[in-house]
Structures are given as structure tokens and as C-alpha cells.
């Protein structure tokens, strides 16, 4: 089935194409490419030409480049400086590395190749065309080639530079080319540099270190060398810097490279910067983690218990109202930002959700009940696991969006898909610090910047701050230093990152949560927490102190009979008549309360408390209330006794609750009918006096099902393999068709007809200033072929120099029917493009 590419020696003859190279790649490498860049595989590309075209798509390349660290970016930029098909050694020379460092460089190149940004083997490295565009025209802080820079000058300015270099004046294009050729000789350029005055040389070196642009009021003119005042004018006069507009000068690439001398690529950063910071100590960090874990679990429970008793209604636009958020903050005795975090945390862990249907309300889910029975470490782990995968930026709550509206918690506005990735990155970066060290902000940011130099902006800065604050609240860092649990999580994230099948921001997670991760986290946290106690110190002022975290069962039981007065490592409870009544209401008896307290009390139960319990119990239930749909009353107790005893009234469900009162669960009308049938003559009374009490209800909604896939990694791997199979099969077919067409037409101009390939060819032509044959259908529907020199592809339009009408024209891309390479016989030698140095 598979057509393999011919042997190496043949490749030398034929120009190597990206499609051809891809075709020759082993299956494993391609599968890995699909996993690393899933957008290439959706929908499955029909053949390798299309796959090659997709590798050139701007968005896709940009996304792949976003994941590069600074070291890799610099290598990629260095590659754009070199001509296509360059060897690794040449790259190493440019980057100024030798010896063992070359192996490191090779590893970086391998990674770039794996990502599909660089292709070709060790002797013929090429970058994907779109990378050149995205890197821009000034890689590694160097300027543009001198020929491009000179394009900004008018004829007389060019003439003056030509005069300095001793070249005869000629036509503009010719003159630029002549001057350019002079700059191509590095030795000559170095000679010119030596002629400069020391001040001019210093300025030059500064521009050479990058960026190559400088601002100067003199940029607009080229003075005579003899009359040059100051270093800028001198350099302009010598043509060593070029004024590209009225106030900007640029150091041409050739000059910059010459000025850099031994290290043409400039200082590179192959290694991440080290984290520095304050020594906190592992025990201190872990202590803080234990405290934070206990607190966050208590917070979630506090809010959800409140919402379980009284669900809150979301805003019409979605999300939690400011009032409800404030109430939550008050409940937790904290600020609104923290409250928003807690709410989002509970939502991420699936503990709270909106009900389905019209009357939407937020209330705890059934999962919450299960969660509540777990031990603190397990509860905490569930929260962390949910948080880790939640695309939520809770720190945005309370800020204004672009329309000036306040962003509400639990609304769609706080969702930020990037949050997951940034969170993982921040956690991994934190864990790079030595154990027990709290990295300072600057060095942490430097590391993050090194790891993803292409991410930036205020949103990112806020995300880092927000993530750090949240990690502290969760106990993943303690006083700024990563804790034992934080390190565990980071190690796990590191492992996931190494496994491409798990990478690429897959938003889905197993519906029930990642149980293995939860268990791991819980096990790691448990030893950090203070040992749970099962005792209370009961005191005569009716308070009880649990001198440590109570076991969940004991805590639940005590919470039924006493109010919490102070929380923290220990808990202070206060017994009051109200709290005891609540216990009695919930079905406990005075004996049970006594027994429970006797069991828990280390120092005995004070007399005041036992009296309070007995007093409350004695009064409890002295008044009785119950449902009845109707009643019978009669002053004659004998008559009532007769009615209740009568066999004919049994169906009425009569119950005598007092000598003169009988009640029935049936409505008055039915009781009346029944009694009359039995031969009595009752009279109806007005309906007032009826007492109905309802039990307080606790609301629950079923957890909404989440995108479930039991093993994300496996299924994604299988998908990638399927895609590859499709590509191979389609590609074989396409090649056969093309071969047949070529055979039929003989050797001639071959139009490329596939839309993605057309785009890639046009972009390549722009980059390399090549001319192409364009098949185009004009507005009248007339197809016509013309030779054009594309200058830009942008927003669905191609701008090009039309040779026939000798004018610049714009072509709608969707009207382009085909593009063909034009042989060199057609045109002038192309002028130094980025890849042609």
C-alpha cells in the first residue's frame, strides 16, 4: 500500500517537499504529531499534500509555537536566519554552541521537528514557511536584510551611500542590488565597522545587541560623511544604519551579524532561569497546607449547607448575584473574592449545580452528600481535583467586563479556557523551587516567561496572581513555598505533559473525577493534618471545646446539639436551649444526648449543662401539633366515645386526641357524609383553626452528567491512529491520480488546484518574492491565467503585481482556481528573501 520515498541520493536531485518528507516519516512520528497538534487531524486530511498545507496554517502554527519555551523559540528564530536545508552543524555555529551542548541543541531541534515546525533531517533542516512569517522579519533582535532596509530610501539618498562605498550611480533597483552585494561580504562590513568613531561603534553595538531599531530625529536624512555631527549621523552617512522612516533607524542584518562577531545569534537562553526566594522550611509550608486544607473544606461545607437549606436563585443572565455572594462572604467571615473562589471550587468539584427546568436554583448536588461523609483529606482532594481541571478564573468575579457589567460568580463570564493550562504551568513552575523555598515573584515570573515566552499580557499576569492566591488557599503552596501535596500534584502534571496523549488542553475529565489522583492526594495530605480527636472539654459556661479536629461522625453529632462559636484547628461549641431543641427535633432524646456527651467529655459534664438538657427535653414536645383534615368536637364525651367506637365510622379514620375532640385525615365533607350515613347529625364548622406544619425540606438536584470518557488518553491515541490510516490511504489515491494526469499532459505547467495548497503556495510566493501563474475567474465569470508577483495574502485577498496590466491588483482568493510555479526562465533572479541569504 505505502509508497516509500526513493533513496537518499534521489532526494538530492529532486527538490524536497514537506509533503514528501511527511510521507516518509514513520507512523509513530506522525501519530505523535497528531496527538501534539490535534487540529491537524480534524477533520482527517485526505492526503499528505493537504496535511503539509495544514502545517502551514497560521492559527495552527501559532498555537504550536505558543507551547515552545524560550530556548526552543530562539533555535527556531535562528533557523529562520539560515537558508533552507541547512545542517545541524551550521545551526550550532550560528548559535555559538559546540562540544556537548550540540547534543542539547539536537534535542531541541528534535522537539521542533516532532511538533511539525521544523522538517528535514540533520543535514537539511528547514522551517515551515508560516514560522518565518510568525517569527517576523527581525529574529533574535537582528534587523532586516540590507536590501529590504534600503527600499525605504529615495534615489538621491541611495546615491549618497553609493558615493561613500565608491559605487557608480545606477537605476534604483540595480543600485539596491549592487549595494546589497557589497554588504554580503562579512569581511568588508567588519572593515567598515573598524572605520567608525568610538561613539558610533558603541551605538552600533547597542543596536546589534537588539532590538535593531532605534529612534532618532535625524532618521529622515542621509548626511554627507564629512559633515556628519554625532554618531547617528555618522552611521547614517556610512550606510551602516538606515533610516526606515522619519524617526526610526534600523541596523541591517548584515551589519548586526558582523558587529556581534563570534556569537552571531547573540546571547541565547537554553536553560530555564533558576528560582530564588526565601527559605520557609518544609514543615512550615506543610503546616500551612494542613490549615488551609481544613479551612477550605469547612468553607465549602458551610456555604453548601446554607444553600441546601435555602437554595439561591441565579441572575437572569446567569451567575450568582452580588447580594448572594456578599451573604456567602459574611457566612464564611471572609472577603468576596475568597467567597467567589469557594463557590466556584464547589461547582468545579460538582458539589453544587443549577437545577434543570424553568425555576433555576443553585443547590448542592447528590454528590455533596457523599462528599460530606468522607474524611477531610478525601474531601479536600476532590476539591483540588475539580479545581485543577476547571476552566474558571474566579478572581475575575467582581471585576467589570468590556461592557462595564460586573462579572458574576458561576456565570459564563468567569470561564477562561486558558486557565487550566496556566494553572498547570504555574504549579509546575512553583515545584521547580527547592523544597521549602518560597520563590519570589520576580523569579517565578521569569521562569514562566522563559517557559512560554509567547504568552503575555495583563490577563496572564492576573492569572498568575490568581492561581497563586488559589493555590495558597488550597494548601498547594504554604506561605509561598510548594507543599508536599503541591509537589505531588506538580509531579503528576509534569508526567501528563510528557505524555502527548494527555496534552493539548483536553478539557474532558472522567465524569466521576480522577479517583486515582484523588486517592493519591488524600494519602499525601492525611499525615500533614493534625490527628483527629474524639473528645470535648465541657465547661460550666455551656461551651465545649474540641481541642483539635473532631472525627467527622463526632463532629456531625455535636453539630446537631450545639452551635459553633469559633473555628480553626479547634472548635468551640456553645450549648443553648435553641441548639438542644434542634437536637431533640432531629430525633435525639435527652438520654442519647447525655450518653453522647458522657462518651465525649474528657472532664465530665457540668451540672449546668445536664440541667439545661433535661429542662429543654422536659419542655420539648409538651405542645403537640399534627395534621388533620377535619375535626369533630362535642361537649358530650360519651357521644364522642360512641362515634369513635362505632363500626360504621371506622372508614373515617377518627382519632380521639382529647376527651372532647376527635380528628380525621379526611376532608370535612367526607367526614360529614360518613357520619350522616352512620346515623349521626353533625354540623360543619368554618374551616379556621386548622394547623398545618411542614417539615423543612432539604433540596438536591441530580449532578449534571459531564463529558465522560473513561480513558481519555487511550481513546485519543486510537483516534490519532485512525486519522493516520485515513491519510495514508487517501494520499496513495491522490498520487496515483496526479501521476496519471501528468502522464496524460506530458511535462508542462502543473496547476495546483487544491484550496489549502493554493494558499500555502501563494504565501510561499509572497515570502520568497516569486512569481506564479494564477488561474483566476474574474467578476464576469471569465477564467483567465495570468502571471503575477504576490505581495501579500490577507483577509481573503491576494495583493499582487500583475505583469499583464503592469499594475498592482487585488484578487479574491475564492476566485483563484489554481496556482502554478513559474520557471526561472520567466523572470529575473529573485531578490534576497529571508530564506535565501
Amino acid at each position: 500500500m505505502r509508497m516509500s520515498i526513493p533513496a537518499d541520493d534521489e532526494v538530492r536531485d529532486e527538490p524536497v517537499t514537506l509533503a514528501g518528507w511527511l510521507r516518509a516519516r514513520p507512523d509513530d512520528a506522525l501519530v505523535r504529531l497528531f496527538l501534539l497538534r490535534p487540529d491537524l487531524a480534524t477533520p482527517p486530511p485526505p492526503d499528505f499534500d493537504i496535511l503539509a498545507a495544514r502545517l502551514e496554517v497560521r492559527v495552527s502554527v501559532a498555537r504550536a509555537m505558543e507551547r515552545l519555551d524560550t530556548g526552543a523559540c530562539e533555535v527556531l528564530e535562528a533557523l529562520t536566519l539560515l537558508p533552507g536545508g541547512v545542517s545541524l552543524d551550521r545551526l550550532a555555529t550560528l548559535c555559538g554552541v559546540d562540544g556537548e551542548a550540540v547534543a542539547g541543541l539536537a534535542a531541541v531541534v528534535d522537539r521542533l521537528r516532532e511538533l511539525g515546525l521544523v522538517w528535514g533531517d540533520g543535514d537539511g533542516l528547514r522551517v515551515v514557511g508560516m514560522v518565518v512569517d510568525l517569527v517576523g522579519s527581525r529574529p533574535l533582535g537582528l534587523g532586516r536584510p540590507v536590501r529590504e532596509c534600503l527600499g525605504a530610501y529615495r534615489q538621491n539618498q541611495l546615491a549618497r551611500i553609493a558615493g561613500v562605498l565608491g559605487e557608480p550611480v545606477a537605476a534604483r533597483a540595480e543600485l539596491i542590488e549592487t549595494l546589497g552585494r557589497r554588504f554580503d561580504d562579512p569581511a568588508a562590513v567588519r572593515g567598515w565597522l573598524d572605520d567608525c568613531s568610538p561613539r558610533a561603534r558603541a551605538l552600533l553595538d547597542r543596536l546589534a545587541a537588539g532590538p535593531a531599531l532605534g529612534t532618532s530625529a535625524e532618521a529622515g536624512r542621509v548626511p554627507v560623511l564629512a559633515g556628519a555631527r554625532g554618531p547617528v549621523e555618522e552611521l547614517l552617512a556610512r550606510g551602516l544604519v538606515i533610516g526606515i522612516d522619519e524617526e526610526t533607524v534600523e541596523l541591517p542584518r548584515e551589519v548586526g551579524l558582523a558587529a556581534r562577531g563570534e556569537r552571531p545569534a547573540g546571547p541565547l537562553h537554553p536553560r530555564p532561569p533558576a528560582l530564588t526566594g526565601t527559605e520557609i522550611g518544609v514543615p512550615a509550608a506543610d503546616g500551612a497546607a494542613a490549615l488551609a486544607a481544613g479551612t477550605v473544606v469547612r468553607w465549602v461545607a458551610t456555604i453548601l449547607d446554607a444553600w441546601g437549606a435555602a437554595p439561591v436563585t441565579p441572575l437572569r443572565t446567569g451567575g450568582l448575584s452580588v447580594r448572594d455572594l456578599r451573604a456567602a462572604a459574611r457566612l464564611l467571615d471572609t472577603d468576596e473574592r475568597t467567597a467567589a473562589f469557594v463557590v466556584e471550587l464547589a461547582a468545579a468539584a460538582g458539589l453544587v449545580d443549577a437545577t434543570a427546568g424553568v425555576d433555576v436554583q443553585y443547590m448542592p448536588t447528590a454528590t455533596y452528600d457523599r462528599w460530606g461523609t468522607e474524611l477531610v483529606p478525601a474531601r479536600w482532594a476532590a476539591l483540588v481535583e475539580g479545581w485543577l481541571r476547571a476552566p474558571v478564573a474566579s478572581w475575575l468575579v467582581g471585576e467589570r467586563d468590556e461592557r462595564g457589567r460586573q462579572i458574576a460568580a458561576m456565570s459564563l463570564d468567569v470561564r477562561r479556557p486558558a486557565a487550566v493550562e496556566v494553572r498547570a504551568e504555574v504549579l509546575r513552575a512553583l515545584a521547580a523551587a527547592p523544597p521549602g523555598v518560597a520563590p519570589d515573584d520576580a523569579s517565578l515570573r521569569a521562569l514562566l516567561a522563559w517557559r512560554s515566552p509567547r504568552r503575555s499580557g495583563s490577563l496572564l499576569a492576573a492569572m498568575i496572581d490568581g492561581t497563586l492566591a488559589e493555590a495558597e488557599l488550597l494548601g498547594l503552596i504554604g506561605r509561598g513555598a510548594p507543599t508536599t501535596v503541591g509537589r505531588l500534584l506538580a509531579a503528576r502534571l509534569e508526567a501528563e505533559r510528557a505524555d502527548p496523549a494527555r496534552l493539548a488542553g483536553s478539557p474532558s475529565r472522567p465524569s466521576g473525577g480522577d479517583a486515582a489522583l484523588c486517592a493519591q492526594l488524600a494519602d499525601a495530605l492525611a499525615p500533614l493534618l493534625p490527628a483527629p480527636v474524639e473528645e470535648l472539654l465541657l465547661q460550666a459556661d455551656l461551651t465545649a471545646v474540641a481541642p483539635g479536629p473532631l472525627t467527622p461522625t463526632a463532629a456531625a453529632r455535636v453539630a446537631r446539639m450545639a452551635d459553633v462559636e469559633s473555628t480553626g484547628a479547634a472548635t468551640v461549641y456553645r450549648f443553648s436551649e435553641d441548639s438542644l431543641r434542634r437536637a431533640l427535633d432531629s430525633g435525639l432524646t435527652a438520654e442519647e444526648i447525655h450518653a453522647e456527651l458522657d462518651r465525649l467529655a474528657r472532664t465530665g459534664v457540668p451540672q449546668g449543662l445536664s440541667y439545661l438538657i433535661d429542662d429543654t427535653a422536659r419542655r420539648h414536645g409538651r405542645l403537640r401539633a399534627g395534621p388533620a383534615a377535619s375535626y369533630l368536637r362535642c361537649d358530650d364525651t360519651a357521644l364522642l366515645a360512641e362515634v369513635v367506637a362505632s363500626r360504621r365510622t371506622q372508614a373515617l379514620g377518627l382519632r380521639r386526641i382529647a376527651p372532647t375532640i376527635v380528628i380525621s385525615p379526611l376532608p370535612t365533607a367526607e367526614v360529614l357524609v360518613g357520619l350522616r350515613d352512620a346515623g349521626y347529625s353533625p354540623v360543619a364548622e368554618a374551616a379556621d383553626g386548622r394547623v398545618l406544619l411542614s417539615r423543612p425540606t432539604v433540596h438536591r438536584t441530580p449532578a449534571r452528567s459531564r463529558p465522560a470518557s473513561n480513558d481519555v488518553a487511550d481513546s485519543r491515541l486510537a483516534q490519532a491512529r485512525d486519522v493516520l490510516r485515513l491519510v495514508r490511504r487517501g494520499d496513495d489515491g491522490a498520487r496515483e491520480v496526479r501521476a496519471a494526469v501528468d502522464a496524460a499532459r506530458g511535462v508542462g505547467v502543473g496547476f495546483t488546484r487544491s484550496a489549502p495548497l493554493i494558499l500555502v503556495m501563494l504565501q510561499g510566493a509572497v515570502r520568497e518574492r516569486r512569481r506564479v501563474l494564477l488561474g483566476y475567474v474574474d467578476q464576469q465569470g471569465t477564467p483567465r491565467d495570468r502571471i503575477v508577483r504576490p505581495t501579500a495574502v490577507d483577509g481573503g485577498w491576494l495583493s499582487a503585481w500583475d505583469e499583464i496590466s503592469a499594475a498592482s491588483r487585488r484578487f479574491a482568493l475564492h476566485r483563484v482556481t489554481g496556482v502554478a510555479e513559474v520557471d526561472d526562465t520567466f523572470g529575473v533572479p529573485s531578490v534576497g528573501g529571508a530564506t535565501q541569504r
Partner: protein
Amino acid sequence: MVDGPLIVQSDKTLLLEVDHAGAAEARAAIAPFAELERSPEHVHTYRITPLALWNARAAGHDAEQVVDALVRHSRYAVPHALLVDVADTMDRYGRLRLENDPVHGLVLRALDRAVLVEVARAKRVAPMLGERLDDDTILVHPSERGRLKQALLKLGWPAEDLAGYVDGEKHPIELVQDGWELREYQKGAVAGFWEGGSGVVVLPSGAGKTIVGAAAMAQAGATTLILVTNTVAGRQWRHELLRRTTLTEDEIGEYSGERKEIRPVTIATYQVMTARRKGEYLHLELFGARDWGLIVYDEVHLLPAPVFRMTADIQSRRRLGLTATLVREDGREGDVFSLIGPKRYDAPWREIEAQGWIAPAECTEVRVTLTDDERMAYAVAEPEERYRMCATAYSKRAVVRRLVQRHADDRVLVIGAYLDQLDELGEMLDAPVIQGSTRNRERERLFEAFRTGEITTLVVSKVANVSIDLPEAGVAVQVSGTFGSRQEEAQRLGRVLRPKADGRTAHFYTVVARDTLDQEYAAHRQRFLAEQGYAYTIVDADDIPDPDQTSGQA
């Protein structure tokens, strides 16, 4: 993790486990910066408040010591945010200083320019400030010293008052220590006060607050104005001063409704100070009548609002506040801090009791079951009448009689709030009744008779709540009170806490009607004492033996 005696809670309370081996050390370490809130039997609760932290700062403690004390004695990890907050709060004290500039007089000087700018812009503060002398100094009119301190405290930037005090008119006063001497804690209290310049000393009733006052006067050696709650208390001060110091009758003046004497040591009542005619305070000039070197406020927790306002004007005089409790039912603790001064000395009741300086006391709540008729009457009473109905229930009488008989060989005080009830009880017990309308002379005569043992039972209304020194009273029976006032309960207990010559235990009975408002209020009233470690025992009225019957049977 250290197994310390202290648990630091996230709400800034500190729980101290009393039975822990390290408790005493931990208590000494945290006492300077945390207020003792409750001291029941097992776990004492301290609270870290900004006021307490500033008190500590004023006493020369720094944040590092505080953080160290918390971390060292804590059983579990201390919330880091709390430590940061402690350090921040403490750092706020003393950024601003009130100083005496040799050229300009009283100035507000900043160690932190931004703070000075911030407070100078505050609406409340701006009018009190004068000319800006330089970047860090603003002139302050001496009359605004107190109000400025109050306002700055509200802004959270308490000023350190280094402006000093005027010495006042010299007047030598010496303690006469014949047969008695200053106790250690009393010396500590005086030293703490004198070092701080002005401030409040908190000691339980019966622990000798008057002597602390006398010692402070001796230390000052200057003319003194003493403000007390009422005339009888004033006379007791006078009596005590005559006994304990070199002062003579002629040197001590009484300034009350009855007499208006101004002498080197003048004792005035709150009542006369706050007397007004047509909205004008009549006796304001008393503060300026002499060049006082010391002003003593007895029972600071009762200090009426007008006296606060007057006090604001005399910030250059040394001020000593004395009280058994800083709990104010009106919550004006902040004013006490800024106008009288920070707390300079505090000792828990139980500790002083353990040292034997106040009598050990046994508190008992006697529950009386109302008769059916009484219950019915109570059930249908108007809401505003209900408390009176149950507090004055007839059924209580028998119990009171039995209690008084039980302690026939001791001096018994029967304390109540309702005059009819007191009169009835007085009649039944054949004991004199002292109430608001009793003339001062008569009161003193009765108290004297009680002291000497001529009378063993007295029935008193709330006039006897405070500042009546009846050292030999060993039993108090409370039949009714002012609703749920916690501080009243503490004061009444204080009546029987003076150490007894034979070291016998004092008894405090509170008689309540079961299942009524009376019981509810009683629970509320007892809370303060329960928090001070006085556990009430509850007994049923029927369990108190009737001495008549038992003797009859025997």
C-alpha cells in the same frame, strides 16, 4: 508539631488549656497582648484585638515577641494570615505621636509621612489640627488632645501620647502600713499604672481597688480628684483613705449633692458631675477648681457619657481607672482606651482567689417551682409585667427564709430589685431594708451595725450593688435583679468576696422561679461569672432543709 497548651483559632481567639503543664508559661506569654475573654474551668479564651495589641505595643512589646509567643506555645500550625495581621496592626501604633514641642507646645508628629497626610485629610480629624509646621509635624491645640486621640483610634492609627502630664499641685500623701501591707498584685498594678502614665487597672471586687487608688495617690504625691458612683461609696473611700494614708479629715473634701467641699483630695459623685440645669453642666468647674495632679475614676465600666466628654478636656492630667470588669453594656470600651488610657493591669478572679486575697465563693442557683395559681397568673400577665411577676413570686419567700436561717451564724445580705418584695422580705425576716430613699445617715448607721454584728441580716436594693464595703458579709441571697445585667451579678457577688477573718467560704444564692423569664435572665446574668470560672450549682428549693422543721423533729 509541638504539643503546646495553646490553640490559635482563625477568628483570633486563643484557647488555653488550663490543665496543660505549659499553661502557666503560655499564659504569661500571651497575657500582654490578648484580652482574657472567658476563664471557665478547663479552657480559657483570650482574644487578640487591635486594642489589646496596641496595649501591648504601648507596654513595649513588639510584633516579633507576639508572633514568637503564638508560634512557640501553639499546638497546631498558626494561620500565617493571622500572624501577618498581628504584625500589621501592631505596626500602626506609634506611627503618630503626640509630643510636647519646646517651641510650639503640643504637636502631632509622624514617623510615617503618608499616615500623617492620610489622617490630616480625614473629615473627622482635620478640624482638630492646627498649622502645619513642617512635613512631619502639625500643631494641635491642647484642648483637642483627647478628642484627637479618640478620632485617630477610630481611624485605626492610634497615636502614642508622649506629651507627658502636668505634675499638678504638690501635696504629700504617704501610706500608713501598720498591720497591713500592699499585696504583690497591688504593687504590680500601681507600678503598671505609673509607668504607663494613665490607664485602667482591672481587679475583682474585694481585691482592694481602693488601696490601689491610695497607693497611686501616694506615688503621685499631688492633689487628687476621685470620682465615685454615689455618696456612700464616696464616704467609704474617705474612710479607707483616712485609715490607710497620712491624710487627715481636713484634707479630704466631699463634693456631692449634700456638700460642696473642695480640698486637696476631693471625692465627687458621677451624679453631681452630670447634673444639669437648662442643658448646662453645673459642676464642670470642679475639674479646673484646683491644679489636680491625679484623677481617679472608680468603677470605670459605669462611667457616664458626659464624664467622658469632660475627661477629653483634661488629657494632661494623670488618670487612673479602677474596675472589676471592662465589659460595658454600652460597648464604649474604645473610649475608655483613648480617654482614660490603656489597660495597665489585669488579673483573673480565680487567680487572686487562689492567692487567698478574695474569699472562695460557692454559687448556687435555687430553683423554685411556682404554684399553679402563680403559673397561671404569670401565663396571662402582660409582657412588660411578666418578669416582675415571676421575680417577685410569693413562693420565693419560704426559700429565702430557709436560706437565711441556714446561715443564721453568718452575715446575710438579701438583695433584690423590687421594693414591695424587699419590704415584705424585711418584714418576714425582721431585718432592716436599705433602698434608694433611705437617708445616707441611716444607711451608714445600718451598715456600721452590720459590720459590728449588731444586725446579721440586711435587705438591700440595688443601691448596694457597688462600692459598699461590708467585709464580713458572707452570704448573699439574690431574689430579683435588673433583667439580665451580667455586670450586676458580678458586682453582687463582689459584696461577699472580701476575705473573711476565719477564712470561711462565701455563699451566693440566686433564687429563680422555674420555667419562667426569671430563669432565662438568670442564665444570662450568670454567663459572666461562669466565664470567670464560677460554676453555679443548681438545687431545687425543696432540697433546702427547713431548719425549723428539722429542729422541730429532732
